[in-house]
């Protein structure tokens, strides 16, 4: 971004992948496996497989657009390709999307904490409690958040896979039949609509100027993140469907919590869900902080403000009030589903890809960038 401090902050390849993976993968700890079960029944995992393939295709288009404008963020590219006003409009949509999705996630994570750990805490208090670490992290900067993401990612992954492995006694492969679950057409349909699950890979395009490497490696960073997250989500969904069979699988508000609750390795090692609260709340903090600071950075970029820190309190108020707007959990879940399925992919994949197509048709940008 135009600012001088973008020259100072340079994130490495590993940090970029870690940030993207946390940004994409945190939904595994919310209702994502349940949604898959609802859409694809026993074949919920196939939806993830399909949507990851679709998203990689979309990402290839977007990253080729980034290659045309090396060192520029997708926001700047929007303005260059579509002109000042149209680009501005598009950027505002992206900003609103990230603010909406962050506040919905804030609400959902808070509800999940209430459901699982602290049943007597009012939602407003929990929202606020989530906001404080978010604010501190965002204030300390992208560098701190991305490094924290990189450091904590192995632990989060290890914790997640430990839950899956500990459930081994409950695995029942027959619960995955029929293989095609709800049928081929719904799988394909939801597989496409659900690409927005990976749409957040766009964060790489937004943060492009902050990376120490070029668009070529950015493409691989995106693909790597999508593949690893897709594999993890597939594993979680498969285990979820195997352990908690189909009709019941659609009824858990926080499937991962239910999974960790089910662990029973003899009389001594049981009910370990509290330990895993540590893992997924930590992921939640990271995910929310990344969303928060990205929103601030986008705002700075759109309105050409020199610093992002003064924007943080205002954004915090916006995110907090949006998070508290839905009446109850079910409303929030419904809203999230709508945002994801019907608007998410348009904003995260379709619009940037169209910009890519426009850039190609209008012959804007540096075509040699591809070869260099």
């Amino acid at each position: 971004m135009n600012n001088s401090d973008s020259n100072l902050i340079k994130l490495g390849h590993s940090e970029a992948i870690a940030v993207t993976m946390i940004f994409l993968g945190s939904k595994a700890f919310l209702g994502y496996p349940r949604m898959m079960a609802q859409m694809g029944a026993t074949a919920g995992w196939i939806i993830i497989l399909l949507s990851s393939i679709f998203s990689i295709a979309f990402w290839l288009i977007i990253s080729s657009l980034l290659e045309r404008f090396p060192g520029k963020s997708i926001l700047e590219i929007n303005e260059v390709v579509l002109g000042k006003y149209l680009g501005f409009g598009l950027n505002i949509i992206a900003l609103l999307y990230i603010i909406f999705s962050s506040s919905l996630l804030l609400r959902l994570f808070s509800e999940a904490v209430i459901l699982t750990a602290l049943p007597h805490v009012p939602i407003s208090a929990l929202n606020f409690l989530f906001l404080i670490p978010m604010f501190v992290a965002a204030y300390l900067g992208l560098e701190a958040i991305s490094r924290s993401a990189y450091i904590s990612l192995p632990f989060i992954m290890a914790g997640t896979f430990a839950v899956l492995v500990f459930l081994y006694p409950f695995w029942d492969i027959t619960e995955l039949y029929p293989v095609l679950g709800a049928g081929a057409w719904p799988l394909l349909k939801y597989g496409f609509l659900n690409t927005s699950a990976f749409g957040e890979v766009l964060i790489l395009a937004i943060l492009a100027p902050f990376f120490s490497f070029g668009p070529e490696r950015l493409r691989y960073a995106g693909i790597t993140s999508i593949v690893i997250v897709a594999v993890s989500l597939i594993l979680i969904t498969v285990v979820y469907l195997m352990v908690i069979p189909m009709p019941g699988a659609t009824e858990n508000l926080v499937p991962f919590y239910q999974l960790s609750r089910t662990i029973y390795l003899g009389r001594y090692y049981q009910r370990l869900e509290s330990v895993f609260i540590l893992f997924w709340t930590f992921t939640a903090f990271l995910r929310l902080a990344i969303g928060y600071i990205t929103a601030a950075l986008i705002t700075r970029e759109i309105f050409k403000i020199p610093y992002y820190r003064p924007l943080l309190p205002a954004l915090a108020v916006i995110i907090l009030s949006l998070a508290l707007t839905p009446e109850d959990v079910m409303k929030t879940v419904e809203l999230e589903k709508q945002l994801r399925l019907f608007y998410g992919w348009i904003i995260t994949f379709f619009l940037p890809s169209s910009v890519g197509a426009a850039a190609y048709l209008l012959k804007k940008g540096d075509r040699r960038g591809k070869k260099a």
């Binding site: 994130l11 490495g12 590993s14 940090e15 904490v113 750990a117 602290l118 805490v121 409690l129 404080i132 670490p133 501190v136 992290a137 300390l140 900067g141 560098e143 701190a144 958040i145 490094r147 924290s148 990189y150 450091i151 904590s152 009389r267 001594y268 049981q270 009910r271 370990l272 869900e273 509290s274 330990v275 609260i277 540590l278 709340t281 930590f282 903090f285 990271l286 902080a289």
Partner: protein, 612 residues
Amino acid sequence: MADVNDNGQKTDSFLTQMKNAVIKIITFQKPAATEGFILYGIDDTPQDHEVTGDTGKEKKRGKKKPLRVKRTVPGETQEKDVREQSKKEYNREGLHDYRKLLVDPGLKTNKRCIEEIYSLPKNKDIIIRDLIISAEQPREAFAVFVEGISNRDTVNEDVLKPLMLMAKFEKNVDIMDMADYIRKHVIYSNQVDIHDKYEDIIDKINYGSTAVFIDGSPRCLVIETKGWDRRSIGKPETEQVIRGPHEAFNETLRSNTGLLRKAIRNPNLITEIMKIGERNKTDVAVMYLEDLASPRLVEEVKRRIESISTDYAGETGVLEQFIEDHPFRPVPQVMVTERPDRAASFIMDGKVAILMDGNPNVLIVPTTLFTLLHSPEDYYLRMPYGNVVRFLRVVSSFLAVMTPGVYVAITTFHQEMIPTDLILAVSAARETVPFPTIIEVFLMEFAFEMIREAGVRIPGVIGNTLGIVGALILGQAAVQAGIVSPILIIVVAITGLASFAIPNYSMSFAFRGVRFIFTALAAVFGFFGISAGLFILLTSITSMKSFGVPILSPIGPRTKTGPDVVLRGPVWSMEERPDFLDTLERRRQPDISRGWVKPLLNEDKQGGNGDE
């Protein structure tokens, strides 16, 4: 109401006295003007020459003014003066007026100067020894040195004796060359300098040298005669090892630099000496390898040290606070060691060591969190053992931070985690305890901290008392009285042990402090609170830098490094120095550093016993 007594004096009646007393109590009385003790006694209003700004004239030889600063007369104006003075900006222009003076040819003038500067004869440490140099034309002279920091024998044998007995000059030496002639022919001390500025002379005298002023000569001989009582090189107090050298730095800068130079026999080892403190001028040495350490790092270290303007910074702990990047964060950003072998190994890595006179602790910059968790012994032990102790240390640093918090979280919020038998035991133990867990934990943790602090301060003679108080009263009696539960004693003990397993003193302070925050968070929000605390701690650590190096390098950010971060590989596999130090030479050793392990070239040779 007034009565008249026998002596004819008026006395108030009892009622009037009572009334006055009551009025006196309930109303404001102007306090009696008393002469209090206030340390601001010095009037540092600008001296005449400062006002005129005519400092050039001062350099003229022979122009000497009374050098004593004027003291204010204690009195009513003092209070106002103090306030005005405290408002004044920090200005040390007039602090050392003698700095501008030059040595005078007249011996009497020089003597008066020295007497002024050192407030003689009030100051009893300064010795002025009059003597006559036994030249063909005997010349009057005097020697100045400070009793206690100059070596008596050296002054006698190497300065006075040659000057008074052996200075039989063969020819008539010109007075202007006298000092130089004496330096070359008469005095056989190993360091003799000639100065003509009082500034240099006084600094040297203050550091143990002897100055000799000669009548008629505008130059002064300064002979190195340092020698004071000092601690000999002893064993490390805080960084003890079983394998490895048992030397520690002591309080003398020169023997410390010597220890390092003894360890690193390399002409590229540079020792730069700087002075900090306007009033004291403590020597600070910066040591690094010129062909290895990043020049920008060295520049930054020197820049930070040179920029400090203060009256007195006499300890590396104070210096550390002056030069560190984040004064308000818990994690230290400067490594402190008292072991020459350790400091040497850091210098060989391309880091910079900062030594200070009068200090057995050496600062190493930059540092990372992982080096703070290392101990020198990790490297001296064989790789598997070294890794075992390191692993132990990593676990104990987590335990030191988390144990009380996790205990509080589990017993307060997540009881379902505890297996039934255990929770029965816990609740049975807690049955008689009247306090909630959090109060219990805070009580005992606070008591533990008190024992630790008292243990440091307690005089050795009565040290046994501490063990009795700590172990018997706080441990056993508190449990028997039903104030705390026995399980909690175990928790506190584990936390304490774990915090002492952290090798760095500052780091273990940091962890012990942070654990109170984690305990409080756990008491309010359970594991969610711990998670929030961990998140804030991690992000705040990842945003920290120590002299430009992120403190969590080489993991956050990820950079290239040898196999030596949390665990370490074998010594022959550490081919490269850490990338984050940006050293001039990256490679430490070739890929195959064990020359005797030769790769097999032909398959023919493969038979045998594998020794080829």
